[in-house]
């Protein structure tokens, strides 16, 4: 290669390509309602057929708010039409997945280097490190660094949203 410096951007492009490659594992889910499978991730895309409410699905990659359905037939469904099945609570993490109920089960990263129950139970506060955090000044010029971002106006949530959703679930 004439200019060896060109290797750096090439390595970066390759690493980005590898990192962004589709490696998503298939996930179990079901259809929340009767809906149409779309040929592409768009509400305006051609309909490939319908999916019945409650139908079991195998979900692959996600593009924005759309999910690629691999089974029972291929197509795209909107994320809001799909309900994920809890597969991660069926394995060795079962009993840990229920939030506060699991309090007291000390199983976090036993034997592994990490930050879990044991480490936090025995840790002593490090106030020097806290000062480092508090006094740290970023070397980044935020105005330039975030220049292309558009600050959006998004209205606050209505207080009843969650309650409504829970009511609908009960029905």
């Amino acid at each position: 290669m004439k200019n060896p410096r060109l290797i750096y951007p090439l390595i970066f492009i390759c690493s980005f390509w590898i990192a962004s490659a589709e490696t998503t594992a298939l996930r179990e889910a079901e259809a929340k309602r009767d809906c149409s499978l779309r040929a592409t991730p768009s509400a305006k895309a051609e309909s490939l057929g319908s999916v019945d409410s409650g139908a079991s699905l195998q979900v692959g990659e996600r593009k924005g708010l759309w999910l690629k359905i691999e089974s029972p037939s291929e197509g795209w469904l909107k994320l809001t039409e799909v309900k994920f099945t809890e597969t991660s609570s069926g394995g060795g993490l079962s009993g840990l997945a229920s939030g506060r109920e699991a309090t007291g089960n000390s199983v976090a990263s036993s034997g592994a280097r990490g930050l879990g129950t044991e480490q936090l139970e025995t840790a002593e506060p490090d106030f020097e490190e806290l000062e480092k955090l508090k006094e740290f000044e970023s070397t980044i010029d935020a105005k330039e660094f975030f220049a292309s971002l558009e600050i959006r106006e998004i209205s606050e949530f209505k207080k009843s949203t969650r309650k409504k959703a829970q009511k609908n679930k009960r029905r």
């Binding site: 309090t103 990490g114 930050l115 490090d126 955090l133």
Partner: protein
């Protein structure tokens, strides 16, 4: 002869001083928290107001408003001191990473998102702690810590924004502080000890001594499921306001679900204190369904790939720390083709 407005002013002033005295007396008598030093109770400025043409009613209202501000800032000071004690405990378990570039990156992005919230004035600080565990922690008062394990798991700056948005929401909504405050009030000893904590230097050490048992318990228990769903919900809103992809939270949750499905020890503590990723995704889908305005914010920002540069800097520090010069050189070369083909 003293005119009527002057008399009313003196009456208001006397009443205000009486109220402050009474408040301090009550706090001293009943072990309530002291008013912090440096309160915005500038009586001199009140005098200036009264000599102007503003009505005496305004002056009285201002006196009451100042007292209300005093109580509010006192509460903030206590929250910040307790939160700093919480953050110190996390930092005792795992130190900050050494990379100045990565720390600057997370600090700047965190500040950018926090600036869009209702509590932008808090002393926010964001850092990455050196641990392969996948988790993030929000301490009351605005200190937010991410593990390097989580940072390296993310695939875009938008995903980082969604994680920071979630933690920022915990702080804004005072999830952890409400738990600590409640436990503090239940324990008369802790409450009394906390009332003796002065603001300023040494406040976090004193707060830790006063609240150690409560802090350790709250860290290990986490908050309830409702609080986590609420932080997800407000977090995607904050990151969307800041210009990032609100749907990127699904990307983070998908990664967590995959690790949990593989029984990864690196997410076990996170799963102990959080609902499952599937439940969180289902809840978020409901939020999106009920708030169509968020759908317009569901595409990646132009800065999405920028995180890869910083992950490349952080990964080697886990095994062999690199010095500042080599770090700068690496960042310089990597940033070449990041977003806009410029340095």
């Amino acid at each position: 002869m003293i005119n009527l407005s002057r008399r009313l002013y003196l009456l208001t002033l006397t009443f205000s001083v009486f109220c402050i005295g009474l408040t301090n007396y009550t706090h001293a008598q009943f072990g309530l928290p002291k008013l912090p030093k440096g309160l915005p109770l500038d009586l001199g400025s009140s005098k200036k107001e009264s000599t102007s043409k503003k009505s005496d009613t305004d002056t009285a209202a201002k006196g009451l408003s100042l007292l209300s501000t005093a109580v509010s800032s006192q509460s903030d000071e206590e929250e910040i001191a307790a939160g700093d004690a919480v953050a110190a405990l996390y930092l005792g378990a795992a130190p900050l990473v050494e990379s100045e570039a990565v720390s600057s990156y997370v600090q700047s992005l965190g500040m950018h998102i926090a600036a869009q919230t209702e509590r932008a004035e808090l002393p926010w600080a964001f850092g990455i702690i050196d641990s392969p565990t996948v988790n993030a922690f929000a301490a009351p008062g605005g200190k937010v810590l991410l593990t390097s394990g989580l940072f390296n798991m993310l695939s875009s700056e938008d995903e980082l924004a969604s994680v920071l948005g979630h933690e920022i929401a915990h702080v804004v909504l005072q999830h952890h502080w409400k738990i600590i405050k409640k436990q503090k009030l239940v324990s008369g000893v802790a409450d009394l000890a906390m009332s003796e904590v002065d603001t300023g230097s040494g406040a976090s050490e004193a707060a830790f001594k006063a609240l150690e048992g409560i802090i350790r318990k709250s860290i290990l228990s986490g908050i309830d499921r409702g609080g986590e769903f609420e932080a997800d919900k407000h977090g995607i809103r904050y990151s969307a306001i800041a210009g990032y992809n609100c749907a990127s939270a699904f990307g983070v949750l998908q990664s967590l679900a995959e690790r949990a499905a593989a029984n990864g020890a690196d997410v076990s503590f996170l799963y102990k204190t959080h609902p499952t990723a599937e439940k969180r995704m289902n809840e978020l889908a409901e939020i999106l369904e009920n708030n169509p305005s968020l759908e317009d914010a569901a595409s990646d920002s132009v800065y999405a790939p920028r995180i890869l540069e910083y992950q490349a800097l952080l990964t080697p520090t886990q095994e062999a720390p690199i010095d500042g010069s080599s770090e700068s050189a690496m960042l310089s070369s990597l940033s070449y083709c990041a977003v806009c083909n410029t340095h």
